[in-house]
């Protein structure tokens, strides 16, 4: 078949969105999981990721499959850009919308690859010496193409360029299923994430304000909405288009829905206590909205019901394929939290604290411990916790690290099982210790603040040539 109309070009873009998931392999590398119990079955993927080892298999949820899927989407976007060159009328709004979506998808996919397979973003001089990821801007037309090594500064410059093209022309009117595409709010949410990771704070505030609107309370999902819900209802609501906090949703082929409840490595008794049970803490107070959301299968296994499950005909024959779930890629909660960071970094700590209080009150502080936050909790953050926050734009004041620490701990609960904690571990240079109490300590069980294992090694068989 030929792609010979703008409608068909739009369909090429629909197919560019990711169909593989990073949730499982990144979540297993964070401090949100522990070794639940020796009795439980361990999958090879989870065990390798838990100990930050290389894993080169091609099964569902593996890093390699996500790499392949991102570049597949990038090729789709590049094909679209090539076909759009045949339409000369650059003022046509539909054409502009297609250009915008192509640039946004390309920027998003490269950004995700860079956050997984390249070192964390640092200052300009350091970036020039760090390796980036291949930035593909043209469809591959030859049989065997070798891609050159690039440095991190160039990679991020190109991502920012594509992002700005997309933001300039993004429009909503041509999308039938908005939430599965980069509509304006989703595009701005991506911008917020990008500018927060690269430290451009004013832009974070500007774009976030558009996404959150005037009444920020309405933009995120309050605890009241899911307070009495059953597991089925929660799962339904997590990736629903009606959920106001969801900005970009995708369907992925993934085994995470089964695995996060049953595998040996996952949210277990130790990590559950650390993340969700904050009974007597004077700083990070227990947030009932998060605590009540998490269900316990038994003493060793906990999970927050987020993932729905459906299977295709392939899944009838082979349980390891054809299993699908929905992932939420961008949310208003994330935008909200980045804006709080931005306020802190631009000297408006008071606005930051106000927003943090509004956010947490939506998610509800536990009864009986004092009904609302007062803002002094930030001061009560222990120095040993605060000092773990060491982003590349340090040094920071005590208040800033306090706010950032608080925000990262809230994010940890909000985005449990979604792998986003890994990105915070990278950009804040936080360490993780897998050594267990009562056992001999092993050096390789500690992920150092700046550890080479925070960057995944390139998939097996990928070699980049020197330019």
């Amino acid at each position: 078949m030929e792609v010979d109309s703008k409608e068909k070009i739009a369909q090429l873009l629909t197919a560019a969105y990711p169909e593989a998931s990073y949730f499982r392999f990144l979540e297993l590398r964070t401090d949100n999981v522990d070794d639940r119990s020796v009795q439980l079955p361990a999958s090879r993927l989870n065990e390798a990721m838990f100990y930050w080892n290389d894993y080169h298999e091609e099964e569902l949820d593996s890093p390699k499959l996500y790499w392949l899927d991102c570049y597949r989407g990038i090729a789709q976007a590049n094909q679209v850009l090539e076909l759009l060159a045949a339409y000369p009328d650059k003022e046509d709004p539909q054409l502009q919308a297609l250009y915008a979506e192509a640039f946004l998808v390309r920027a998003y996919l490269h950004f995700m690859v860079a956050n997984i397979w390249a070192p964390p973003f640092a200052d300009e001089e350091t970036n020039k010496g760090l390796p980036g990821i291949p930035y593909v801007e043209k469809s591959e037309k030859n049989a065997w193409v070798s891609y050159p090594k690039e440095n991190l500064q160039d990679t991020y410059r190109k991502i920012e360029r594509d992002l700005s093209y997309g933001l300039a022309w993004v429009r909503d009117e041509y999308y039938e299923k908005k939430k599965f595409h980069f509509h304006k709010k989703a595009a701005y949410a991506l911008a917020v994430r990008f500018f927060a990771y690269t430290g451009q704070w004013q832009k974070v505030i500007d774009y976030a304000t558009y996404v959150l609107g005037n009444d920020v309370k309405k933009s995120i999902l309050p605890y009241q909405e899911y307070k009495e819900k059953s597991v089925e209802e929660m799962v339904e609501g997590y990736a629903s288009e009606d959920n106001p906090s969801n900005l970009l949703i995708t369907t992925v082929e993934s085994l995470w829905e089964e695995n996060y409840k049953t595998d040996r490595y996952g949210l277990g008794s130790v990590s559950y206590e650390e993340v969700f049970q904050r009974f007597s803490s004077k700083s990070i107070r227990q947030i009932e909205g998060y605590f009540k959301a998490v269900r316990r299968l038994d003493r060793t296994r906990a999970y927050w019901p987020k993932f729905t499950h459906f299977q295709s005909a392939d899944g009838l024959l082979n349980e390891r394929r054809g299993q699908y779930t929905k992932n939420v890629l961008l949310t208003t909660e994330e935008v909200f939290l980045h804006r709080i960071e931005a306020y802190a970094m631009t000297g408006r700590a008071d606005l930051a604290k106000d927003d943090l209080i509004t956010f947490i009150n939506q998610k509800h502080i536990a009864d009986g411990i004092g009904s609302e936050l007062s803002g002094t909790e930030i001061e009560n953050v222990k120095p040993s916790d605060r000092e773990r926050i060491q982003p590349f734009y340090r040094p920071l004041t005590q208040e800033q690290t306090g706010i950032l620490y608080y925000v990262s701990e809230v994010a940890r609960q909000q985005f449990i099982h979604e792998g986003l904690r890994w990105f915070d571990l990278r950009r804040f240079n936080i360490s993780v210790d897998r050594n267990r109490v009562g056992e001999a300590k092993k050096a390789r069980y500690v992920l150092q603040p700046e550890d080479s294992r925070k960057t995944l090694s390139l998939p097996e068989g990928v070699t980049l040539i020197n330019p």
Binding site: Q11, W67, T251
Partner: protein, 861 residues
């Protein structure tokens, strides 16, 4: 003249002794070992997806009739039941294979005169079925008439018709998306595979003569019932008509024209009766476990899983219509002067073929109720929600054009020069592409030395001696490589709510502008020799072939967006020789003995390779294990280094980086590795034999003739079928190799067959690691056999009645003929354990060729 021929054959049933399988008693011993290791708990046996004797036993224990439980739940009763099952020794081949006779009648008629000649024949073939699941009936008609309209003009017309009706066991052409190297646990009712792979502790009938069932896909299963309820009916109608004319307008020049058309309709209907195991599986929803795990139930958004086919059966059909047309115009010119002679032949041909195929699945048809139809709407919900199509339509158009010319010059039949050129075009690679036209050409010279004057003294005993030399190019395109231009595929995005689904266009193939055809240059030197007036004649050809730009599906880094692409990936060179010897050993009035011996040998090396194959490509023998300086499609194996002290296999992994978890020597294999595999894989040999030879001896005495035909292939290595299943149960069968398995600590010193893993090993190592270890074992050097064989291919005896006797019976000729095909394999590697080396890599869909006895009678009037 009228000729009638009747041929009847008998195919011999295979037997277990050919295959070194354990009988039911030994198999039961293995099951006991498994029982002691934690297998066959009541829960798994009763409610699991599949189960054999243990599930039968627990069902009896669990069922309560008027006078008590089916089987008392005591140790003695259970032991007695299992002991009885161990004595069954069911010969599934006997129940499934019928040893029936096939019959083929054919009648042909030819007559003619000065002005015309006609040949007509009809034949009818009836095969009541090699197995109870199969039947074939075929009718063929053929009519050919030639008319000599003038001494210079001849016209022929030809008509052929072919009808076939066939019954075959129901198969599901589903493609399983397996990880590389994983054990295939497909359930197959193909008769040969079923008989060989079904436990002999089970039986088709119980004591009372009723069908006995075991458990498959959550429902009862009996193979004989399944063959009756689950079958396919194939009907083919094929017509061919052609018209050709030859005209000699002037002497030496001949023009001919050929027009040909063909129409074939193939219809395949798959009937699934309501009492087939497949449909019982669709209805299995008793009990919580079944409802939770049965994949055939429909799971709506909210609520309990539901049955989508409460009664009736399923009718699936697929049909294909093909229309093809061919037109060829050719020209023949010959001229002689002095001792010189030239011949020119050229033709142009146009071919068109249109194929249209469609499939349809009908759910809810009552075969016992006059085919009345009642479909539940849930069927559509399940089908659509799971992204399946319930009907499809596909069109395929092929267009080919060929231009060809050949020129021959010879001087006094002594020196001959030949030139051939061919230019072929096809639409296979898409619109406006660069690889449309394939060139082929060849230049050859021949010198008939025996026609030279200086050869005269030798001619008494050496009557033919010619030397030949030729050089040419053949270009070939791989029909799967359609990616000269980008190829798109339109699909609905697979999302949970059907209302959320959108149309999306996926790039199926990126553009590959480097794609070009495969080229092979061949240089050939040969000689033909005959001695003593052709009493001994032989010909020898030595060739060197250089192939460039071989095409295959190659793995890339994926950065371009297409992980595996069709591309030109390598070059190869092959040298070889072909030899043919024909001797008339004894040549007397009443008795003669002829021998024909053919022999071929080649040596092949890959000279350039763009990619690195994965470990799986190298160990699977799928033709992609390509390494420079080795032949194409080599077979490699993992290096097994004995067993651990728990009976698990361990391997040598060379430079492969392994994880530090303690099981890496056992389960650390990575089938996708492309970087380190040359450091730990062992080379076994090529997948294709490099020597092929055949020997035919024919003896004639008066009216009798006896012919013995042997074939042999030497040099290839095959992988024996993976039999070490990471997930054993009481349906597994075992070859006698299992007698040598690891049983107790200490066995690892002497044995190399791994232990049957118990549930303690599963919980210690994790199921995925155990699977990986056993899959690696299946591809290690102990599971390789030599594919060389020598086979007696046929033995035949015929008798032609003498003319005098025929005339007395008012016939023109009468002859009888008897043949045994595939009588036995004279030599094959014992490690194959009876599997036929000729068929071991064919995917195993049909039965291997059995030993067949046939007899025929031919009468002519």
């Amino acid at each position: 003249m009228l000729t009638y021929n009747l041929t009847t054959s008998l195919r011999l049933r295979p037997s277990y002794t050919q295959f070194d399988m354990m009988n039911s008693a030994e198999t039961m011993q293995v099951y006991h070992e498994m029982e002691n290791k934690g297998y066959f708990t009541m829960n798994r046996a009763l409610y699991g997806r599949r189960g054999g004797v243990y599930s039968q036993m627990y069902q009896l224990i669990d069922s309560f009739q008027q006078d008590g439980f089916g089987l008392p739940n005591t140790l003695e009763a259970r032991r007695a039941f299992l002991h009885k099952a161990s004595t069954h020794n069911t010969d599934w081949f006997k129940h499934i294979y019928t040893q029936s006779l096939t019959r083929n009648h054919s009648l042909s008629l030819s007559y003619g005169g000065e002005k015309s000649a006609t040949y007509a024949s009809v034949s009818f073939y009836n095969d009541p079925g090699e197995t109870v699941a199969e039947k074939v009936k075929r009718f063929t008609g053929f009519l050919n008439s030639s008319f000599f309209l003038s001494p210079r003009l001849k016209v022929s017309a030809n008509l052929q018709a072919n009808f076939r009706e066939q019954r075959a066991p129901g198969t599901f052409p589903r493609i399983r998306n397996l990880e590389a190297g994983a054990y295939k646990r497909d359930f197959d009712i193909n008769p040969f595979n079923y008989a060989l792979n079904t436990s002999r502790t089970l039986r088709p009938y119980d004591e009372a003569g009723n069908y006995e069932y075991y458990r498959n896909d959550w429902a009862p299963f009996n193979i004989l019932q399944e063959y009756q309820e689950n079958y396919m009916r194939i009907r083919v109608s094929d017509f061919r008509f052609s018209l050709s004319g030859e005209w000699e307008p002037v002497k030496k020049l001949r023009l001919s024209l050929l027009l040909n058309t063909r129409m074939a309709v193939t219809g395949m209907a798959h009937f699934l009766g309501e009492n087939s195991n497949v449909l019982w599986a669709y209805r299995a929803d008793r009990g919580l476990w079944e409802r939770q795990h049965n994949i055939y139930l429909y799971r709506p958004e909210k609520g309990e899983p539901q049955v989508i086919l409460p009664m009736d059966g399923v009718y699936q059909k697929s049909s294909q219509t093909m229309n093809s047309y061919l037109g060829r115009a050719s020209l023949d010119y010959a001229h002689e002067w002095g001792g010189h002679r030239i011949k020119w032949f050229s033709f142009a041909e146009v071919k068109m073929k249109d194929l249209s195929s469609d499939t349809f699945k009908g759910y809810g048809i009552g075969f016992n109720r006059a085919n009345s139809v009642m479909t539940s709407p849930l069927v559509f919900e399940k089908t659509l929600n799971e992204g399946e199509d319930y009907f499809s339509l596909r069109d395929h158009h092929e267009r080919d054009v060929v231009f060809s010319g050949s020129f021959t010059y010879d001087y006094r039949d002594r020196y001959i020069l030949n030139l051939v050129g061919n230019y072929e075009g096809s639409n296979a690679a898409g619109i406006g592409c660069r690889v449309r036209w394939l060139p082929t050409w060849n230049v050859g010279v021949k010198w008939n030395v025996d026609a030279e004057s200086f050869f005269a003294p030798f001619r008494r005993f050496w009557n033919q001696f010619s030397l030949r030399m030729s050089y040419g190019l053949v270009a070939k395109m791989n029909s799967e490589a359609i990616n000269s231009l980008p190829v798109y595929d339109s699909r609905l995005t697979f999302r949970k709510d059907i209302s959320d689904r959108e149309y999306a266009i996926y790039i199926q193939h990126l553009e590959n502008r480097d794609l070009t055809w495969e080229k092979m240059y061949e240089f050939n030197v040969g000689t033909d020799l005959s001695f003593w007036n052709d009493r001994i004649s032989c010909s020898l050809d030595v060739y060197s072939r250089r192939s460039f730009d071989l095409i295959d599906w190659v793995q890339t880094s994926g950065i371009g967006g297409e992980y595996k692409k069709w591309m030109n990936f390598g070059d190869m060179k092959t040298v070889g020789l072909d030899f043919l010897l024909n001797t008339q050993n004894i040549r007397q009035k009443d008795f003669s003995w002829n021998t024909v011996w053919g022999f071929s040998f080649y040596h092949q090396e890959i000279t350039r390779l763009l990619n690195r194959p994965t470990t799986f490509d190298m160990v699977a023998g799928n033709g992609r294990g390509n390494i420079e300086r080795f032949p194409r499609g080599g077979l490699y194996s993992f290096d097994l280094r004995g067993l651990t002290d728990r009976g698990l296999p361990q391997f040598y992994f060379g430079n492969l980086p392994l994880s530090s978890n303690g099981y890496s020597q056992i389960a650390g294999a990575n089938f996708y590795d492309t970087t380190y595999n040359r450091s730990y894989l062992l080379y076994e040999g090529p997948s294709d034999p490099f020597i092929t030879t055949s020997l035919e001896n024919t003896f004639r005495y008066k009216g009798w003739s006896l012919s013995v035909f042997l074939t042999s292939r030497i040099g290839n290595k095959v992988r024996t079928s993976p039999t070490f299943d990471p997930e054993y149960n009481d349906l597994n069968v075992f070859t006698t190799r299992y007698r040598d398995r690891w049983l107790v600590k200490g066995d690892e010193q002497t044995k190399h067959i791994p232990v049957i893993p118990g549930y303690d090993i599963y919980s210690l190592m994790g199921k995925e690691n155990v699977e990986r270890a056993y899959n690696t074992y299946n591809y290690s050097q102990v599971n390789v056999a030599d594919g060389s064989f020598v086979r007696l291919k046929s033995l035949s005896l015929g008798y032609t009645f003498p003319r005098a006797v025929c005339e007395k019976m008012k016939m023109k000729g009468l002859s009888l003929y008897a043949q045994v095909t595939n009588p036995f394999l004279i030599y094959a590697d014992k490690k194959l354990q009876g599997r036929d080396p000729e068929f071991i890599n064919s995917g195993g869909v049909s039965s291997p060729t059995p030993r067949t006895y046939s007899m025929s009678v031919q009468l002519s009037f």
